[in-house]
Symmetry: C2
Subunit: 215 residues, 2 copies
Amino acid sequence: MPVPTPDYRLYLVLDPKLCAQTGIVQTALAAAQAGAGIIQLRAPYWKKRELYECAIELKTALAPFKIPLIIDDHVDVAVASGADGVHIGQQDLPATCARAMLGPDKLVGLSINTIEQMKNVDPTIVDYVGVGPIFSTATKPDAAAPIGFDGLAQLMKICPVPAVAIGGLKANHVKEIFKAGADGVAVISAICGQKDPNVAAQTLFKECPDTRLTR
Amino acid sequence: MPVPTPDYRLYLVLDPKLCAQTGIVQTALAAAQAGAGIIQLRAPYWKKRELYECAIELKTALAPFKIPLIIDDHVDVAVASGADGVHIGQQDLPATCARAMLGPDKLVGLSINTIEQMKNVDPTIVDYVGVGPIFSTATKPDAAAPIGFDGLAQLMKICPVPAVAIGGLKANHVKEIFKAGADGVAVISAICGQKDPNVAAQTLFKECPDTRLTR
Protein backbone atom coordinates (compact mmCIF):
# COMPACT_ATOMS: atom_id res chain seq x y z
CA MET A 1 0.00 0.00 0.00
CA PRO A 2 1.47 3.40 -0.95
CA VAL A 3 2.19 5.86 1.85
CA PRO A 4 -0.34 8.72 1.86
CA THR A 5 1.12 12.18 1.20
CA PRO A 6 1.23 13.68 4.67
CA ASP A 7 -0.57 16.82 5.72
CA TYR A 8 2.12 18.14 8.06
CA ARG A 9 0.07 20.96 9.62
CA LEU A 10 -0.63 19.08 12.83
CA TYR A 11 1.84 16.30 13.67
CA LEU A 12 1.16 14.24 16.78
CA VAL A 13 4.02 12.50 18.56
CA LEU A 14 2.42 9.78 20.69
CA ASP A 15 4.08 9.18 24.05
CA PRO A 16 2.43 6.05 25.48
CA LYS A 17 3.27 6.91 29.10
CA LEU A 18 1.53 10.30 28.79
CA CYS A 19 -1.47 8.62 27.16
CA ALA A 20 -2.09 6.29 30.11
CA GLN A 21 -5.40 7.93 31.05
CA THR A 22 -7.03 8.05 27.59
CA GLY A 23 -5.22 5.12 25.99
CA ILE A 24 -2.72 5.20 23.13
CA VAL A 25 -5.00 4.21 20.25
CA GLN A 26 -7.81 6.38 21.60
CA THR A 27 -5.49 9.40 21.76
CA ALA A 28 -4.35 8.77 18.19
CA LEU A 29 -7.92 8.48 16.95
CA ALA A 30 -9.00 11.60 18.85
CA ALA A 31 -6.19 13.58 17.19
CA ALA A 32 -6.85 12.12 13.74
CA GLN A 33 -10.54 13.03 13.99
CA ALA A 34 -9.52 16.58 14.90
CA GLY A 35 -7.23 16.99 11.88
CA ALA A 36 -3.82 15.59 12.78
CA GLY A 37 -2.27 14.58 9.45
CA ILE A 38 0.66 12.46 10.59
CA ILE A 39 1.30 10.50 13.77
CA GLN A 40 4.57 9.28 15.27
CA LEU A 41 4.94 6.59 17.93
CA ARG A 42 7.77 7.38 20.33
CA ALA A 43 8.49 5.19 23.35
CA PRO A 44 12.24 5.12 24.05
CA TYR A 45 11.54 3.35 27.36
CA TRP A 46 9.87 0.36 25.67
CA LYS A 47 11.35 -2.93 24.50
CA LYS A 48 10.83 -3.53 20.79
CA ARG A 49 8.13 -6.17 21.08
CA GLU A 50 5.82 -3.74 22.85
CA LEU A 51 6.61 -1.02 20.30
CA TYR A 52 6.03 -3.44 17.42
CA GLU A 53 2.68 -4.66 18.75
CA CYS A 54 1.49 -1.12 19.49
CA ALA A 55 2.54 0.01 15.99
CA ILE A 56 0.49 -2.76 14.38
CA GLU A 57 -2.51 -1.84 16.50
CA LEU A 58 -2.16 1.86 15.60
CA LYS A 59 -1.69 1.12 11.91
CA THR A 60 -4.95 -0.83 11.85
CA ALA A 61 -6.85 1.78 13.86
CA LEU A 62 -5.60 4.67 11.70
CA ALA A 63 -6.18 2.97 8.34
CA PRO A 64 -9.55 4.69 7.70
CA PHE A 65 -7.89 8.12 8.12
CA LYS A 66 -5.20 7.48 5.50
CA ILE A 67 -2.60 9.29 7.59
CA PRO A 68 0.92 7.95 7.90
CA LEU A 69 2.25 6.27 11.05
CA ILE A 70 5.90 7.00 11.78
CA ILE A 71 8.12 5.10 14.24
CA ASP A 72 10.70 7.00 16.27
CA ASP A 73 14.31 5.83 15.91
CA HIS A 74 13.73 2.11 15.21
CA VAL A 75 13.92 1.36 11.49
CA ASP A 76 13.58 -2.36 12.21
CA VAL A 77 10.30 -1.84 14.06
CA ALA A 78 9.04 0.37 11.23
CA VAL A 79 9.84 -2.33 8.66
CA ALA A 80 8.49 -5.21 10.76
CA SER A 81 5.23 -3.49 11.70
CA GLY A 82 4.48 -2.16 8.22
CA ALA A 83 4.51 1.44 9.47
CA ASP A 84 4.80 4.26 6.93
CA GLY A 85 8.20 5.53 7.94
CA VAL A 86 10.71 6.41 10.60
CA HIS A 87 11.83 9.55 12.40
CA ILE A 88 15.51 9.67 13.26
CA GLY A 89 17.64 12.00 15.32
CA GLN A 90 21.22 13.09 14.75
CA GLN A 91 22.47 10.30 17.05
CA ASP A 92 20.37 7.57 15.45
CA LEU A 93 21.27 5.57 12.34
CA PRO A 94 22.29 7.69 9.32
CA ALA A 95 19.34 8.71 7.11
CA THR A 96 20.90 6.87 4.16
CA CYS A 97 20.78 3.59 6.13
CA ALA A 98 17.14 4.17 7.08
CA ARG A 99 16.26 4.92 3.45
CA ALA A 100 18.08 1.80 2.22
CA MET A 101 16.15 -0.42 4.63
CA LEU A 102 12.76 1.23 4.08
CA GLY A 103 12.89 1.54 0.30
CA PRO A 104 11.99 4.58 -1.77
CA ASP A 105 8.29 4.85 -0.85
CA LYS A 106 8.33 5.15 2.94
CA LEU A 107 8.86 8.38 4.87
CA VAL A 108 12.14 9.34 6.52
CA GLY A 109 12.06 12.30 8.90
CA LEU A 110 15.11 13.85 10.53
CA SER A 111 15.53 16.06 13.61
CA ILE A 112 17.32 19.35 12.97
CA ASN A 113 18.68 21.77 15.56
CA THR A 114 21.42 23.74 13.77
CA ILE A 115 22.23 25.45 10.47
CA GLU A 116 25.02 22.92 9.92
CA GLN A 117 22.58 20.02 10.28
CA MET A 118 20.07 21.70 7.95
CA LYS A 119 22.75 22.22 5.30
CA ASN A 120 23.41 18.47 5.38
CA VAL A 121 19.78 17.50 4.69
CA ASP A 122 19.65 15.57 1.44
CA PRO A 123 16.15 15.99 -0.04
CA THR A 124 16.60 12.84 -2.12
CA ILE A 125 16.88 10.86 1.15
CA VAL A 126 14.91 12.84 3.75
CA ASP A 127 11.16 13.50 3.29
CA TYR A 128 10.69 16.03 6.07
CA VAL A 129 12.52 17.55 9.03
CA GLY A 130 11.50 18.14 12.62
CA VAL A 131 13.01 21.49 13.59
CA GLY A 132 13.58 22.39 17.22
CA PRO A 133 13.28 22.35 20.04
CA ILE A 134 11.52 25.72 19.85
CA PHE A 135 11.22 25.79 23.63
CA SER A 136 12.71 23.46 26.21
CA THR A 137 10.38 20.69 27.32
CA ALA A 138 10.03 18.10 30.04
CA THR A 139 8.97 15.44 27.50
CA LYS A 140 12.48 15.19 26.04
CA PRO A 141 15.05 16.03 28.72
CA ASP A 142 18.01 15.04 26.49
CA ALA A 143 16.99 17.45 23.70
CA ALA A 144 19.32 20.05 22.18
CA ALA A 145 19.28 23.77 23.09
CA PRO A 146 16.02 25.64 22.33
CA ILE A 147 16.10 27.75 19.16
CA GLY A 148 12.99 29.95 19.60
CA PHE A 149 10.89 31.43 16.79
CA ASP A 150 13.87 33.38 15.42
CA GLY A 151 16.04 30.29 15.20
CA LEU A 152 13.21 28.49 13.42
CA ALA A 153 12.84 31.33 10.89
CA GLN A 154 16.60 31.25 10.19
CA LEU A 155 16.56 27.50 9.62
CA MET A 156 13.45 27.64 7.42
CA LYS A 157 15.24 29.97 4.98
CA ILE A 158 17.53 27.11 3.90
CA CYS A 159 15.17 24.16 4.48
CA PRO A 160 14.89 21.98 1.35
CA VAL A 161 11.97 19.77 2.53
CA PRO A 162 8.71 20.15 4.48
CA ALA A 163 9.36 21.02 8.12
CA VAL A 164 7.45 20.67 11.37
CA ALA A 165 8.46 22.72 14.39
CA ILE A 166 8.62 20.90 17.73
CA GLY A 167 9.37 21.54 21.38
CA GLY A 168 7.00 22.87 24.03
CA LEU A 169 4.44 24.15 21.51
CA LYS A 170 0.90 25.04 22.53
CA ALA A 171 -2.08 26.44 20.61
CA ASN A 172 -1.03 30.05 21.22
CA HIS A 173 2.30 29.41 19.44
CA VAL A 174 0.87 27.93 16.26
CA LYS A 175 0.37 31.12 14.21
CA GLU A 176 3.95 32.22 14.97
CA ILE A 177 5.27 28.82 13.82
CA PHE A 178 3.66 29.10 10.41
CA LYS A 179 4.70 32.76 10.15
CA ALA A 180 8.31 31.59 10.62
CA GLY A 181 7.91 29.43 7.52
CA ALA A 182 7.27 25.98 8.97
CA ASP A 183 4.79 23.59 7.35
CA GLY A 184 3.44 22.24 10.61
CA VAL A 185 3.51 22.01 14.36
CA ALA A 186 4.47 18.82 16.15
CA VAL A 187 3.22 18.29 19.68
CA ILE A 188 3.40 15.67 22.38
CA SER A 189 2.04 16.93 25.68
CA ALA A 190 -0.33 19.49 24.09
CA ILE A 191 -2.42 16.43 23.12
CA CYS A 192 -1.12 13.34 24.98
CA GLY A 193 -2.35 13.37 28.56
CA GLN A 194 -4.78 16.25 28.02
CA LYS A 195 -8.17 15.65 29.65
CA ASP A 196 -9.85 15.63 26.23
CA PRO A 197 -7.25 14.96 23.49
CA ASN A 198 -9.84 15.54 20.77
CA VAL A 199 -10.67 19.03 22.02
CA ALA A 200 -6.95 19.74 22.55
CA ALA A 201 -6.19 18.70 18.96
CA GLN A 202 -9.13 20.73 17.61
CA THR A 203 -7.86 23.80 19.46
CA LEU A 204 -4.43 23.36 17.86
CA PHE A 205 -5.79 22.61 14.40
CA LYS A 206 -8.00 25.73 14.41
CA GLU A 207 -4.83 27.84 14.63
CA CYS A 208 -3.30 26.18 11.55
CA PRO A 209 -3.70 27.56 7.99
CA ASP A 210 -6.87 26.37 6.25
CA THR A 211 -5.09 24.39 3.59
CA ARG A 212 -1.93 22.37 3.65
CA LEU A 213 1.17 24.04 2.31
CA THR A 214 3.05 22.63 -0.63
CA ARG A 215 6.67 22.99 -1.57
CA MET B 1 30.55 -12.15 2.01
CA PRO B 2 29.11 -15.36 3.55
CA VAL B 3 28.86 -15.55 7.34
CA PRO B 4 31.49 -17.91 8.78
CA THR B 5 30.11 -21.00 10.54
CA PRO B 6 30.48 -20.10 14.18
CA ASP B 7 32.51 -22.01 16.70
CA TYR B 8 30.18 -21.54 19.66
CA ARG B 9 32.52 -22.92 22.34
CA LEU B 10 33.52 -19.49 23.65
CA TYR B 11 31.06 -16.70 22.91
CA LEU B 12 32.03 -13.19 24.01
CA VAL B 13 29.34 -10.60 24.71
CA LEU B 14 31.09 -7.23 24.54
CA ASP B 15 29.81 -4.64 27.01
CA PRO B 16 31.50 -1.35 26.02
CA LYS B 17 31.14 0.19 29.49
CA LEU B 18 32.95 -2.75 31.10
CA CYS B 19 35.68 -2.55 28.43
CA ALA B 20 36.56 1.08 29.26
CA GLN B 21 40.03 0.20 30.58
CA THR B 22 41.23 -2.06 27.76
CA GLY B 23 39.11 -0.64 24.94
CA ILE B 24 36.29 -2.34 23.03
CA VAL B 25 38.17 -3.39 19.90
CA GLN B 26 41.20 -4.40 21.96
CA THR B 27 39.04 -6.61 24.18
CA ALA B 28 37.45 -8.23 21.12
CA LEU B 29 40.84 -8.90 19.55
CA ALA B 30 42.27 -10.27 22.81
CA ALA B 31 39.36 -12.72 23.05
CA ALA B 32 39.54 -13.69 19.36
CA GLN B 33 43.25 -14.42 19.68
CA ALA B 34 42.51 -16.65 22.67
CA GLY B 35 39.89 -18.71 20.83
CA ALA B 36 36.55 -16.90 21.09
CA GLY B 37 34.58 -18.06 18.05
CA ILE B 38 31.71 -15.56 18.00
CA ILE B 39 31.36 -12.05 19.39
CA GLN B 40 28.27 -10.03 20.23
CA LEU B 41 28.13 -6.27 20.74
CA ARG B 42 25.63 -5.33 23.45
CA ALA B 43 25.20 -1.73 24.57
CA PRO B 44 21.55 -1.09 25.54
CA TYR B 45 22.60 2.29 26.97
CA TRP B 46 23.92 3.59 23.62
CA LYS B 47 22.16 5.55 20.89
CA LYS B 48 22.21 3.75 17.55
CA ARG B 49 24.80 5.92 15.85
CA GLU B 50 27.42 4.96 18.41
CA LEU B 51 26.44 1.30 18.16
CA TYR B 52 26.56 1.43 14.36
CA GLU B 53 30.00 3.05 14.27
CA CYS B 54 31.40 0.65 16.85
CA ALA B 55 29.99 -2.32 14.91
CA ILE B 56 31.72 -1.18 11.72
CA GLU B 57 34.99 -0.76 13.59
CA LEU B 58 34.68 -4.22 15.16
CA LYS B 59 33.72 -5.86 11.88
CA THR B 60 36.88 -4.49 10.25
CA ALA B 61 39.11 -5.42 13.18
CA LEU B 62 37.72 -8.95 13.40
CA ALA B 63 37.83 -9.68 9.65
CA PRO B 64 41.17 -11.60 9.79
CA PHE B 65 39.71 -13.98 12.40
CA LYS B 66 36.69 -14.93 10.27
CA ILE B 67 34.45 -15.00 13.34
CA PRO B 68 30.93 -13.60 13.20
CA LEU B 69 29.94 -10.30 14.81
CA ILE B 70 26.43 -10.29 16.28
CA ILE B 71 24.44 -7.19 17.31
CA ASP B 72 22.22 -7.36 20.37
CA ASP B 73 18.55 -6.51 19.82
CA HIS B 74 18.86 -4.00 16.93
CA VAL B 75 18.20 -5.66 13.59
CA ASP B 76 18.47 -2.28 11.85
CA VAL B 77 21.97 -1.71 13.22
CA ALA B 78 22.98 -5.24 12.19
CA VAL B 79 21.77 -4.63 8.62
CA ALA B 80 23.24 -1.12 8.36
CA SER B 81 26.65 -2.06 9.76
CA GLY B 82 27.04 -5.25 7.74
CA ALA B 83 27.31 -7.34 10.91
CA ASP B 84 26.82 -11.09 10.67
CA GLY B 85 23.63 -11.35 12.64
CA VAL B 86 21.50 -10.34 15.56
CA HIS B 87 20.73 -11.69 19.01
CA ILE B 88 17.19 -11.12 20.22
CA GLY B 89 15.42 -11.63 23.51
CA GLN B 90 11.86 -12.68 24.15
CA GLN B 91 10.79 -9.02 24.42
CA ASP B 92 12.56 -7.91 21.24
CA LEU B 93 11.19 -8.18 17.70
CA PRO B 94 9.92 -11.65 16.74
CA ALA B 95 12.61 -13.92 15.26
CA THR B 96 10.64 -14.19 12.02
CA CYS B 97 10.85 -10.41 11.56
CA ALA B 98 14.59 -10.44 12.22
CA ARG B 99 15.06 -13.27 9.71
CA ALA B 100 12.98 -11.47 7.07
CA MET B 101 15.10 -8.32 7.38
CA LEU B 102 18.48 -10.10 7.55
CA GLY B 103 17.88 -12.61 4.77
CA PRO B 104 18.66 -16.34 4.89
CA ASP B 105 22.45 -16.15 5.33
CA LYS B 106 22.88 -14.07 8.50
CA LEU B 107 22.71 -15.45 12.04
CA VAL B 108 19.70 -15.08 14.31
CA GLY B 109 20.20 -15.97 17.97
CA LEU B 110 17.43 -16.09 20.56
CA SER B 111 17.48 -15.96 24.37
CA ILE B 112 15.77 -18.89 26.09
CA ASN B 113 14.83 -19.16 29.75
CA THR B 114 11.98 -21.71 29.88
CA ILE B 115 10.84 -25.03 28.43
CA GLU B 116 7.90 -23.25 26.80
CA GLN B 117 10.25 -20.82 25.01
CA MET B 118 12.53 -23.68 23.90
CA LYS B 119 9.56 -25.60 22.47
CA ASN B 120 8.77 -22.54 20.35
CA VAL B 121 12.24 -22.35 18.77
CA ASP B 122 11.90 -22.80 15.01
CA PRO B 123 15.21 -24.18 13.69
CA THR B 124 14.38 -22.91 10.20
CA ILE B 125 14.42 -19.35 11.61
CA VAL B 126 16.78 -19.43 14.60
CA ASP B 127 20.46 -20.39 14.20
CA TYR B 128 21.35 -20.72 17.86
CA VAL B 129 19.98 -20.05 21.31
CA GLY B 130 21.45 -18.37 24.38
CA VAL B 131 20.22 -20.37 27.36
CA GLY B 132 20.12 -18.88 30.81
CA PRO B 133 20.74 -17.13 32.97
CA ILE B 134 22.59 -20.00 34.65
CA PHE B 135 23.35 -17.77 37.62
CA SER B 136 22.09 -14.29 38.41
CA THR B 137 24.42 -11.53 37.30
CA ALA B 138 24.98 -7.82 37.81
CA THR B 139 25.63 -7.30 34.08
CA LYS B 140 21.98 -7.86 33.21
CA PRO B 141 19.80 -6.80 36.12
CA ASP B 142 16.53 -7.26 34.13
CA ALA B 143 17.33 -10.89 33.30
CA ALA B 144 14.93 -13.76 33.96
CA ALA B 145 15.21 -16.18 36.92
CA PRO B 146 18.44 -18.24 37.09
CA ILE B 147 18.06 -21.85 35.90
CA GLY B 148 21.29 -23.44 37.20
CA PHE B 149 23.09 -26.42 35.63
CA ASP B 150 20.06 -28.66 36.11
CA GLY B 151 17.76 -26.26 34.31
CA LEU B 152 20.27 -26.04 31.48
CA ALA B 153 20.46 -29.84 31.19
CA GLN B 154 16.64 -30.04 31.07
CA LEU B 155 16.45 -27.42 28.30
CA MET B 156 19.27 -28.99 26.29
CA LYS B 157 17.29 -32.24 26.01
CA ILE B 158 14.78 -30.54 23.72
CA CYS B 159 17.06 -27.96 22.09
CA PRO B 160 16.88 -28.13 18.26
CA VAL B 161 19.82 -25.79 17.50
CA PRO B 162 23.31 -25.04 18.87
CA ALA B 163 23.14 -23.50 22.34
CA VAL B 164 25.40 -21.31 24.44
CA ALA B 165 24.85 -21.05 28.18
CA ILE B 166 25.02 -17.58 29.71
CA GLY B 167 24.76 -15.84 33.06
CA GLY B 168 27.47 -15.39 35.66
CA LEU B 169 29.75 -18.03 34.16
CA LYS B 170 33.43 -18.27 35.07
CA ALA B 171 36.21 -20.67 34.03
CA ASN B 172 35.40 -23.12 36.85
CA HIS B 173 31.85 -23.56 35.46
CA VAL B 174 32.82 -24.38 31.88
CA LYS B 175 33.19 -28.17 32.16
CA GLU B 176 29.80 -28.42 33.85
CA ILE B 177 28.19 -26.38 31.06
CA PHE B 178 29.40 -28.75 28.36
CA LYS B 179 28.48 -31.76 30.50
CA ALA B 180 24.92 -30.38 30.59
CA GLY B 181 24.86 -30.59 26.80
CA ALA B 182 25.52 -26.99 25.75
CA ASP B 183 27.69 -26.18 22.73
CA GLY B 184 29.36 -23.21 24.30
CA VAL B 185 29.73 -20.72 27.13
CA ALA B 186 28.86 -17.06 26.70
CA VAL B 187 30.50 -14.55 29.01
CA ILE B 188 30.55 -10.83 29.55
CA SER B 189 32.36 -9.89 32.76
CA ALA B 190 34.61 -12.97 32.76
CA ILE B 191 36.44 -11.23 29.89
CA CYS B 192 35.26 -7.59 29.63
CA GLY B 193 36.93 -5.49 32.30
CA GLN B 194 39.38 -8.21 33.33
CA LYS B 195 42.90 -6.89 33.85
CA ASP B 196 44.15 -9.02 30.95
CA PRO B 197 41.23 -10.04 28.71
CA ASN B 198 43.49 -12.26 26.60
CA VAL B 199 44.59 -14.31 29.62
CA ALA B 200 41.01 -14.38 30.90
CA ALA B 201 39.76 -15.71 27.54
CA GLN B 202 42.59 -18.28 27.37
CA THR B 203 41.69 -19.52 30.83
CA LEU B 204 38.08 -19.99 29.74
CA PHE B 205 38.97 -21.56 26.39
CA LYS B 206 41.29 -24.11 28.02
CA GLU B 207 38.27 -25.54 29.86
CA CYS B 208 36.31 -26.02 26.62
CA PRO B 209 36.32 -29.29 24.61
CA ASP B 210 39.22 -29.54 22.13
CA THR B 211 37.04 -29.52 19.05
CA ARG B 212 33.83 -27.75 18.27
CA LEU B 213 30.67 -29.74 18.64
CA THR B 214 28.39 -30.33 15.70
CA ARG B 215 24.69 -31.06 15.63
